[in-house]
């Protein structure tokens, strides 16, 4: 083996040959023309599907879009949550970027023998490219091995109507073929020069394998390999947009065009309508009712299954697999708008209510785990809400939810309690928690928006009062809207009852406007999200974890040591964490309690697992075999915790339920952050402790 780096000379001259009796460049031109025409035709047909979609403004804030493109797109930032598949994908992605120039070079060489792209013709690129080819082959082998033998659970969706796994094998085969063909092509030139090199491991390997080939046959073999590579490349290009591998083309645009609005803000029923306009139909019933960007999402889904792998509904056996929403919609888009020929005669099957069943849509708690994990930023919550909007408009609402919605309409809370009793929680235990019920015209620097669970559920009322006493201890003056408050409408909006949401929002905005309040605080992350993002009140709305952290930092609350021998863990509520990015404030409160032993669950922060309370699930029965809350309590136990601290009424209700139903009473406890902090404030006599601290 030669020690010098050899620059492969283009000895086999594809451009000078005449395969099939046709001059090489001409034939090559024909190949390219056919391939480009086919590719253009297919992509045009696909884009026509997008043009049928509803409007969706996605070209604002270009700087932020570019940043996301660099981080999530080119930076592949979401890949590594799944280490093996993630690394393989990152390597293949980088490999494609490197080999892009080699492919262009080889296409050029079909016309001109010595064609080279400036900067990509030297020995350095040759070495990089050859190593890349080797790595790519290795990645193909690993990927194929995983698909054929390891079979990770997420590749086999129990709700899939049909498998697209075969397409993955085609693509892996094509990639491998490209690598091998190029290597053989290279090897024939190497052999012509008689040298192999560590710098060119793949080509050298091929040369070694081809030693038995007589010299006379080598140029012919080289030409064959060259044509094989270029034909395979054309096939590869055209196969992408007809398969699930369209993502190779669409995922970078998809990331660039991703949702920049706050994660917790649900899209309006239709973009571009003047305020107050009432569209005749709302929601998504047919494919074309989706926005064009949501259709692009379908094209961009790789069927990787990460979304369903983290979906709590899927994990509990409920009839929902987010990825199947993308896959089924894409299959339907492709079937309804074939690349060649006319659309099939006859009516298409119903999309919502047919291909996508009602119960599939009702199974979602809008926890957003799927969106957070998707490597190409596919949106699910907005789509599911849009499809539910259609179901609600069509009257197709599960019975338990109908009752809760009816109560929301008539009484302003899903429990069906009289609205005038809404402010009674402040003293329902006979005491005074320090929160004032504000009459219209009154003012307070801080307004406690309770939302319905805190106002009416006796267990959750205790959290509200504990928080009130903390505020009083910190010297904060806090009022609440009392009977003028109604439910935030957060869940009503998420189950698709947009009209009800609007009416509740108006009532609350009027109640707020009738009083002079500074900041608004809530113990309910769903209310936080509604007020901050749905009502667009923005930052003056705080979650109690944020306010408590602030009061502790300002020295207005000084917790005493709470070392009871138990280990505490914080459960991130979906609408606090994933939807609003509040991860640090509750942890800061825990850290401020001296002696508190804490541990993180494996699924913490943005990986948190939903309690199962969203989308009015407190008022109806799910279809899962298990309850999400039970799984979450098991996760907490696995982490070694005896106390789960949460900061959301729904989480608390579901976890307390789960502890009872799984017979864990006494072994594990769940408390709200405010309740825990109150314990830490009354454990010791204040004066002694403060001097000691």
């Amino acid at each position: 083996m030669s020690a010098t780096i050899l620059v492969p000379a283009a000895d086999p001259e594809p451009a000078s040959g005449s395969p099939l009796g046709i001059p090489g460049p001409l034939l090559h031109g024909l190949l390219l023309l056919v391939a480009l025409a086919a590719f253009a035709w297919i992509v045009r047909r696909r884009l026509l599907v997008l043009r049928r979609g509803a409007p969706d403004p996605r070209l604002d804030r270009l700087g932020e879009r570019l940043r996301r493109l660099l981080v999530i797109g080119f930076g592949q930032s979401r890949q590594l949550r799944y280490p093996v598949a993630g690394i393989v994908h990152v390597l293949i992605f980088c490999g494609f970027l490197v080999l892009l120039f080699r492919s262009l070079t080889l296409l050029g060489q079909g016309f001109w023998g010595g064609f080279a792209i400036p900067g990509f013709a030297g020995p350095v690129y040759a070495a990089v490219k050859d190593w890349t080819g080797l790595v790519m082959l290795g990645c193909c082998a690993v990927a194929a091995y995983r698909r054929l033998y390891v079979k990770p659970a997420r590749y086999h969706d129990r709700l899939a109507l049909r498998s697209h796994g075969g397409e993955a094998h085609v693509i892996l085969g094509l990639i491998a073929l490209l690598m091998v063909a190029d290597a053989v092509f290279e090897a024939t030139t190497l052999a012509a020069h008689g040298g192999r090199s560590w710098a060119l491991p793949l080509a050298s390997l091929a040369a070694f394998a081809l030693e038995a080939v007589p010299d006379s046959a080598r140029p012919g073999l080289g030409v064959f390999a060259f044509w094989l590579h270029n034909v395979a490349l054309c096939c590869f290009g055209c196969y992408l947009p007809v398969s699930k591998h369209f993502h190779v083309i669409t995922s970078l645009p998809n990331v660039f065009l991703g949702k920049l609005d706050p994660a917790g803000r649900v899209k309006p029923p239709r973009h571009g309508l003047p305020p107050g306009a009432q569209p005749g139909e709302i929601g998504v019933r047919r494919l074309a009712d989706f926005t064009w960007k949501h259709l692009l999402d379908f094209f961009s889904c790789t069927d990787c299954g990460r979304c369903s792998d983290v979906c709590p509904a899927y994990a509990t056996g409920a009839p929902l697999s987010p990825r199947q929403i993308s896959v089924k919609c894409r299959d339907e888009a492709y079937a309804a708008h074939p690349v060649f020929g006319r659309p099939p005669a006859g009516a298409r099957p119903e999309l919502v209510g047919g291909l996508i069943e009602d119960r599939e849509l009702w199974a979602c708690t809008t926890c957003r785990a799927c969106e957070d994990v998707c490597p190409v930023t596919i949106e699910y919550v907005d789509k599911i809400v849009d499809m539910r909007r259609f179901l609600v408009d069509d009257g197709r609402v599960p019975a338990g939810m109908q009752k809760a919605l009816g109560h929301l309409e008539k009484k302003g809370n899903p429990y069906g309690k009289p609205g005038k009793k809404r402010g009674e929680w402040v003293a329902a235990d006979g005491g005074d928690c320090g929160v004032r019920v504000l009459a219209a015209g009154a003012s307070a620097p801080l307004c406690f928006f309770t939302d319905s669970a805190t106002a009416f559920d006796p267990r959750i009322q205790r959290i509200g009062r504990a928080f009130g006493r903390l505020l009083r201890a910190a010297g904060a003056d806090c009022g609440t809207l009392g009977a003028d408050e109604v439910d935030s409408g957060h869940e009503a909006r998420r189950v698709g009852e947009e009209g009800l949401f609007e009416s509740l929002r108006e009532q609350n905005l009027q109640a707020l406007a009738a009083r002079e309040v500074g900041r608004v605080v809530t113990t309910d992350p769903h209310a936080l999200n509604a007020l901050r993002h749905d009502y667009r009140l923005g930052e003056p709305v705080l979650h109690h974890s944020e306010l408590l952290a602030e009061l502790i930092a300002a020295g207005r609350l000084r917790p005493f040591a709470l070392a009871d021998g138990r280990t505490y863990t914080f459960h991130d509520p979906c609408y606090l964490g994933r939807h609003n990015g509040v991860y640090e404030a509750p942890r800061a409160v825990l850290a401020a309690i001296p002696g508190l032993r804490t541990v993180e669950m494996a699924a913490a922060r943005n990986k948190s697992f939903c309690c199962g309370g969203g989308s009015l699930y407190l008022f109806r029965e799910g279809e899962g075999e298990r309850r999400m809350g039970e799984l979450r309590i098991e996760q907490a136990e696995l982490a070694g915790a005896q106390v789960v601290v949460t900061a959301c009424p729904f989480c608390l209700i579901n976890f307390e339920d789960a502890i009872k139903t799984t017979g864990r009473t006494g072994r594990i406890e769940v408390v709200d952050l405010a309740e825990l902090l109150e314990r830490a404030l009354v454990t010791a006599a204040p004066p002694a402790a403060t001097t000691g601290a």
Binding site: G400, K403, Y415, P458, F619, D657, T661, G663
Partner: protein
């Protein structure tokens, strides 16, 4: 001194027990010198008429193959001449499915006022008067039939009157003929009976409900014993069903089945609104729970605070003792 007619309901070939509650009411309304009559409809009902004649002074037996199945529409046609002939100051029916089907139409045709679902009946002067539960049983209404001289009808809630004991009246059985114009307008196709072994709790009059307070399946066995002693069916709140200890068809609540029992014994049930929302018809509610603050005590009529593993067996024993 009044004439009172009871329209007897039957379950196939046996009399409905409610007939004897109506007999008590009828005797009270008839007063000392009054007479009580019964009407019974069916095919081959000689035995039933004879049984009625032990308690009622007169029994009108409508025996015809066209009356084989109870039929609120047809039965009204059959009974109309008897009522139209006059002479009855009060006509009583049980406020059950048949009474609801039969009484309103009959009252219109006979030109009689109808007091429905009465808990109590008395005379206000010459007019039939009663008390009935309205607004879901939260309010009682005192009602009185408008004076008109045609007599009045009333349907009576089951359990409102104690059943009369075995009678010794030796009343007269009168074979009543169907009117010539009798033309039933309903064609019965089939009667659906619940499958054997399958308890339909929506129809149960007595229910013992178990909640998450029973901590294991042994607790469930205890409660089964209590239910058997009471002659009640077993139902549950959601957590028990979720554990698979009882089938989904046993789950009472907004997400389960709605029941309308008369007696509801809630064992280890906290009384969430989701569960209580499935209970209709204002039954007598007994609660057994170890948590004195459990909301169930806010809706129950009577309760015992205690450990159900102690209370339930003690109660079962006491009931068995009472039954003798």
């Amino acid at each position: 001194m009044k004439q009172v007619l009871v329209i007897a309901e039957r379950r196939g070939a046996v009399l409905d027990e409610g007939v004897f509650e109506l007999l008590t009411a009828a005797r009270a309304l008839a007063g000392g010198g009054g007479r009580v009559a019964a009407a019974v409809l069916g095919h081959g009902i000689g035995g039933l008429a004879a049984e009625l004649a032990r308690g009622f002074d007169r029994v009108f037996a409508f025996d015809d193959e066209r009356l084989a199945e109870p039929d609120g529409d047809g039965d009204a046609q059959a009974l109309l001449p008897l009522l139209a002939r006059g002479g009855f100051d009060a006509v009583l029916l049980a406020h059950g499915n048949l009474g609801i089907d039969l009484a309103p139409g009959l009252s219109v045709r006979a030109g009689m006022p109808l007091l429905a679902d009465c808990l109590e009946l008395h005379w206000a002067g010459q007019s039939l008067a009663g008390t009935r539960a309205v607004y879901g049983g939260k309010v009682h209404a005192r009602v009185v039939a408008a004076a008109g001289g045609t007599g009045a009808m009333a349907t009576v809630r089951g359990g409102a009157f104690a059943p009369a004991g075995p009678g010794t009246v030796a009343g007269e059985v009168v074979a009543a003929a169907l009117p010539a114009e009798f033309a039933p307008r309903r064609r019965p196709l089939r009667t659906l009976r619940p499958e054997a072994g399958e308890v339909d709790i929506t129809q149960s009059e007595r229910l013992v409900a178990v909640g998450r307070g029973i901590e294991d399946e042994d607790g469930l066995q205890l409660v089964r014993g209590l239910a058997a002693a009471l002659g009640a069916d077993l139902c549950a709140s959601r957590p028990v069903v979720d554990k698979g200890w009882l089938p989904r068809s046993c789950q009472v609540g907004t997400s389960g089945v709605t029941v309308r029992p008369k007696l509801y014994v809630a064992v280890g049930i906290s009384g969430s609104f989701q569960h209580m929302g499935g209970i209709k018809g204002s039954p007598f509610v007994v609660a057994i729970n170890k948590d004195r603050a459990a909301p169930i005590f806010g809706v129950a009529d009577v309760g015992i605070v205690g450990d159900l593993s102690e209370v339930v067996p003690a109660l079962e024993a006491a009931i068995e003792e009472q039954k003798g």
